[in-house]
Amino acid sequence: MKRLHGLAAAPGVARAAYVRIDPAPAPAGGRTTAAGVTGEIERLADASAGAAVELESISRAVSDDGHPDEAAIFEAQAAIARDPALAALATERIKGAHDDAIAAVQMAAGAFAEQLRSLEDELLAARAADVIDVGDRIARRLAGTRQPTIGLDRPAIVVADDLPPSLTATLPRDRLLGIALAGSSPTAHAAILARAYGIPAVVGVRDLLDTLSAAATPGNGIDLAIDGGTGDVFVDPDPGTIERLDHAAASGRQRHQQDLVEARLPAVTRDGTRVSLLANIGTPDESDGAIALGAEGVGLFRTEFLFLERTTPPSEDEQCTAYERAIRAFAPHPVTIRLLDVGGDKPIPYLPIAAEANPFLGVRALRLASAQPDLFVTQLRACYRAAAAGPVKVMAPMVADAGDVDLLLALAKRARTELADEGGAIGEVVLGVMLEIPSAVLVGDTYFRNIAFASLGTNDLAQYALAVDRGNPALERYRDALHPAVLRLIAQAVDTAARAGIELSVCGEMAGDPAAALALIGLGLRSLSMAAPSLPAVRRAIRGSSGTALASEARAALDDPSAKTARARFDRVLGTGGRG
């Protein structure tokens, strides 16, 4: 056995015989004469139009197959084939140098590809392959040779130096078990298509072709194994490796299937305590995956993706569009939008924040609103407008006390009044706060009646309560949010929220940690929001627990001497299925 390593391009495990593909080179061009120029130019126009039609039909086939995004790759190639700039450059070459149409189109495609490579942008340089691919397609039509296809007479892993997009599109999906490429990159079309089709792929495996040439064909018929999740490639894998890969593949598939099935089960303890499980998302793109795992709404929609890495703030329309996408995906469940949460730790060109020694104790999030009210009013206006599409909650981060709540309410009122005066369509927005500064919990009784909900941001709550920098690895042993001091703050928040009659939820990492989630439920929380991949394990932990037992464990944990003791307590509960 020989082990090679490449780049993980599409997850999954495959082991099978391999078929090596060496695409036939594109036809070679030649010369024409002064008399032939007009004819060559006409032939080129016909072949280009024909190639475009071919590519449009591939695009339709891929789209009908349920992959509209990948179909767009071929639509773009068709547009390249139709681009008058390609024809113009080739025509110049036919007229000037008396190249024939084949040589001219390859030269023109090569020139544009070279321009793309010179951009020193890995993603755009990878697209040079598209232009070359289109040029070759046109050249083949001119030469009357067939477009290459990948034919497989048996299920196999395809091995090649690289797979141009046009070849990738013809992959026979029923027999294609995996792809291993010596070249290419995870952003190339071969990798994009492999991911869309769910076919394991490893790319950039240097030495792959040489190693395979040197290896004798083994008698057992299995001569290649790839793990598209790690980038590992095993040539002539030994029985132990095969068993390990098969096992990993089977249990991964099983677990994911199981997760999807269980996503439909309610998160309810054995004695009937119902908990709502929601997802934290960072972009609207994450909505579908979260819904598939059973998220009953969004407990934290981070909006920083709209604001970072740009030179001007996002417009109200742009924000509204992004919020609407998530809202439509989750309706009738609510989406909780968190107002911009940035500070001196992440400089933003259009937001002047003076240099600070402690950005996490500085002018961040809602604290920016005194100097930059318009930034927040614009965001709130986008939220009110997006709320016409479905239920929306908005929460302010970095709230310390009643004064901050007054500020939030004033900003929201201004946004709503402006919109009402303008007469556009707006929806209801439920307003709340993040509880992440201990003071906000301690004086909750002074302002909870003015808002509809509060959400515990346990990462920051623990950081501020325990004086532990979230990013400092040397403080690992102090970081556990199951610290009794944090649990007491949470217990107080539960009590104050119940008295004020407002909704309380958790949207920190604590909610996605099964042992900690059980502690939160024991403390009285009934709404937990977490990164979507954490949903299955937390759902399982809840369904195996007893609400009564969790409540008594949580009460006891408040008096534990350390986070370690409290965690051991809930680890034990988790281990025994909550029967303890």
Partner: protein, 95 residues
Amino acid sequence: MISRDVVFHDRYGLHPRAARRIQASLDGITATVSLTNLDGGDATIDARGMLALISSGIRTGDRIRVSADGTDEVAALAAVGDLIQSGVCHPDVGP
């Protein structure tokens, strides 16, 4: 002729699919439309030219001046400007 400045927000830059969308957004519009990369040497390209678009080297965060000239120049500016500002195919994502 009218123009509008927008920021290019597709996180993968002006890749072929994004270029195709920009091109397609001008279907049915007759105005000539060009893009100038204000952060990239001020080169001006035809918004309908597929190869010109993808070899423009426009990246996420670049400021782009969209210029349109023709009877339906207002519609042209709105179509291309809004598409670019909204992130085309992949609205950019912060760290």
